[in-house]
Amino acid sequence: MADAIVMEKVRKTFGEKVAVAGMDLAIPQGALYGFIGPNGAGKTTSIRMIMSILFPDSGALEVLGKASAVESKDRIGYLPEERGVYKKMKVWDFLTHMGKLKGIDSQVLRQRIPDWLTRVKLPEVAGKKCEELSKGMQQKIQFIGSVIHEPDLIILDEPFSGLDPVNMRLLRELIAEEHNRGATVIFSTHVMQQAEQVCDHIVMIHNGEKMLDSTIEEIRASHEPTSIAFGLADRAFDPEQLAAVEGVASVAQIEGQHEAEIAQGFDGRDVMRQMMNAAPLDRVELRRPTLEDVFINIVQGESGDDASLRAQLRGGVATEDEGGES
């Protein structure tokens, strides 16, 4: 199948700052891709270039077989990171406006808008002004605005930010539905967990460079479990004693959770069994590396502050709502 998006050596700088440094990327049609990376990594800039909102300094781009997204705007749905609504406009009018801009006529919209409002569980807001809605509600309206024309390519920049867990799940389901309809979906996030839950393919971006470009399975497979998480049934038991178990290199407490590092050359399952015998454990689990671990591994050395990066990648409160990416 043809590629929905092709980027070749795309480079973009803002003054001194290199936002995207020679990106090569091919996203096949029908794929569900996640762009991940910390704030300021270059995700939004890449997406804006795909959308022809910004233009690369050098390199070539192809979107849905055309040289520029401008030529196929009606086939693309885009939810930018910097998103807003017309505050004084009624939800119905706003969605009609967005739909008409995408070339859908009012006849069709009269049907689709109530459909979609029901799907996002906001059937009663059509007559309300946008400013009367909560931020999360507005976000769902914006999502509708970006997919109401049933686009072939959907690009969502940080679609989950600011949503509560219930709505996050709802949005995940809607994204999956759009994907099943046949649309190519790309979304960016700085929260790795979301990417892991939704995507089948991950592109990691850091300091404007592509660090990783593979499927979730490939990533998992290429990273063997390196540690065992465990919980103590008897609180009086000193976890350090487990360091004596064969195959355990060290024991540590990482963010309130006990972890035993597997020594080189040992099989994780064997070590688990040994640990069960040696101590009163109520929980023991092979820890596969999360995307977060993989990411930290990849960028380690470049970023000195491991803890703050970790916090950011988990969508820590401090960075969640800023999203100030240039």
Binding site: I53, L54, K73, L79, E82, G84, V85, Y86, M98, L101
Partner: protein, 445 residues
């Protein structure tokens, strides 16, 4: 094009179909027009309630007018109807009669009297509630009544502070009238006779193309160019101002990028400019319709209001509007909020104020070199042309056409500049730009 129209439609609806616009553009002027008689009534009421001023004028008479002069002044100070006693000077009479009620007496000090005390009193007594005190010092100079050679001199009037200007005018009018009376007497001139002789009736008529005559109305000839310029200015500025506001709103509420996913920056800008042009046109149609209607109602002088005039008004509106609107769009896109827009707006506003300052020179001499040259310089040329076309010696057709052509080229250049700034500015947040940055953006885009 469909997208441009959709943007324009939203822009128009969100501006013109709001209660605020209906109120500001239509209802408010209507209320104000209705309020004018009310204001007149209030002013009259205030006049009735004005406090009575009582006091004296200290008089030093160096002219030798003696009792005749003091009698005359007192008589005039007490007179109710000035026009009756002063037929040659109706204007002065009006000024004095409309004065607030006052009881003013004369206190003759004699020739060359010592006025130190009076001056001191004038210096210290000035609050409004001091009544019965000295209000002024009048010094009649030596040759006020008897000429020195062929020339007369007059008088000096020193009054205290915070005195009602109508009282001052009454005092001045009384003294002046008294002196004049005595001069007429001594020259043996009958004042009534003089008034009759001075009055010459004139009937000025304008001859139309068909040979009919209509009463000419010089005031109308002065007002029409000004009215047309103001009409153009209001419509253009209103549309431009709204465009600036909505652009800033779209940018600051971060809706711009959502829109850019559906339309190109150019489509967005043209749509917005088009939508607000509709708003400006609606305003202009309303006001010019009301204006023309009022003219038809009150006067038969509609000869100057030709269809060509309305057509050119519309053409020059479009040109002027596009120039200012593109600047407004560029500024709106460049800044983060209205406050930041002010500094960029100042030079723009100053430029567009030029016609305001020049409306009199241009309308008095519509075919002078200044007028002609300004007719060819964008962005002020549409305004200048409209002023000139409203006068009774409109410019030749070729000048109108050339001005419109230059205006069109100017509008194109403005749009070209704005398009570049608009495109770069829309997604730029942070430090507000100055004109230097804007130029850099134009080079960048």
């Amino acid at each position: 094009m469909k997208r441009v129209l959709q943007v324009a439609r939203r822009e128009f609806a969100s501006t013109a179909l709001t209660k605020g616009f209906l109120f500001g553009a239509i209802i408010l002027p209507a209320i104000m027009a209705a309020a004018i008689p009310g204001i007149g009534w209030l002013a009259a009421k205030a006049e009735e309630d004005a406090p009575v001023v009582e006091g004296t004028i200290a008089l030093i008479d160096n002219s030798g007018g003696g009792e005749q002069l003091t009698d005359r002044i007192s008589f005039r100070l007490q007179a109710e109807d000035f026009a009756a006693i002063d037929p040659t000077n109706p204007l002065e009479a009006v000024g004095a009669v409309t004065g607030s009620e006052s009881v003013i007496e004369l206190d003759p000090l004699g020739a060359d009297a010592d006025d130190t005390e009076v001056r001191e009193a004038l210096r210290t007594q000035y609050t409004e509630d001091v009544n019965g005190e000295v209000l002024a010092l009048a010094i009649i100079s030596e040759h006020a009544i008897t000429p020195d050679g062929g020339d007369y001199s007059g008088f000096e009037l020193l009054h205290r502070r915070k005195l009602d200007d109508r009282v001052i005018s009454k005092m001045r009018g009384s003294i002046r009238g008294a002196i004049k009376d005595i001069r007429f007497d001594r020259a043996e001139i009958d004042e009534k006779q003089l008034a009759i002789l001075s009055s010459v009736n004139s009937d000025t008529q304008e001859v139309s193309e068909t040979g009919e005559t209509t009463e000419s109305n010089p005031l109308f000839g002065i007002l029409l160019p000004i009215a047309m310029m103001i009409l153009l200015m209001i419509s253009v500025m209103t549309g431009g101002q709204y465009l600036l506001t909505t652009t800033i709103e779209e940018k600051s509420s971060r809706i711009v990028e959502v829109l850019l996913s559906a339309v190109s920056p150019m489509e967005l800008m043209f749509g917005k400019i088009l939508g607000q042009m509709g708003v400006g046109l609606v305003l202009m149609a309303i006001y010019s319709g009301v204006g023309a209607g009022a003219l038809l109602y009150f006067s038969s002088t509609t000869g100057l209001l030709t269809p060509q005039l309305f057509v050119s008004l519309a053409v020059f509106f479009v040109l002027a509007y596009i120039m200012i609107a593109s600047l407004m769009a560029a500024i709106g896109a460049a800044v983060n909020d209205l406050r930041e827009a002010q500094s960029l707006m100042t030079p723009v506003m100053m430029t567009f104020m030029i016609p305001y300052f020049l409306v009199f020179p241009i309308s008095r001499a519509p075919n002078s070199t200044l007028s002609t040259v300004l007719s060819f310089i964008p962005p002020v040329n549409p305004f200048v042309m409209v002023i000139r076309m409203g006068t009774n010696s409109p410019p030749p057709l070729w000048q109108v056409l050339v001005s419109a052509l230059i205006g069109a080229v100017g509008a194109y250049a403005f749009v070209w500049f704005a398009a570049k700034v608009f495109r770069v500015g829309l997604l730029m947040y942070g430090k507000p730009p100055n004109f230097k940055t804007l130029i850099r953006w134009v080079r960048m885009a």
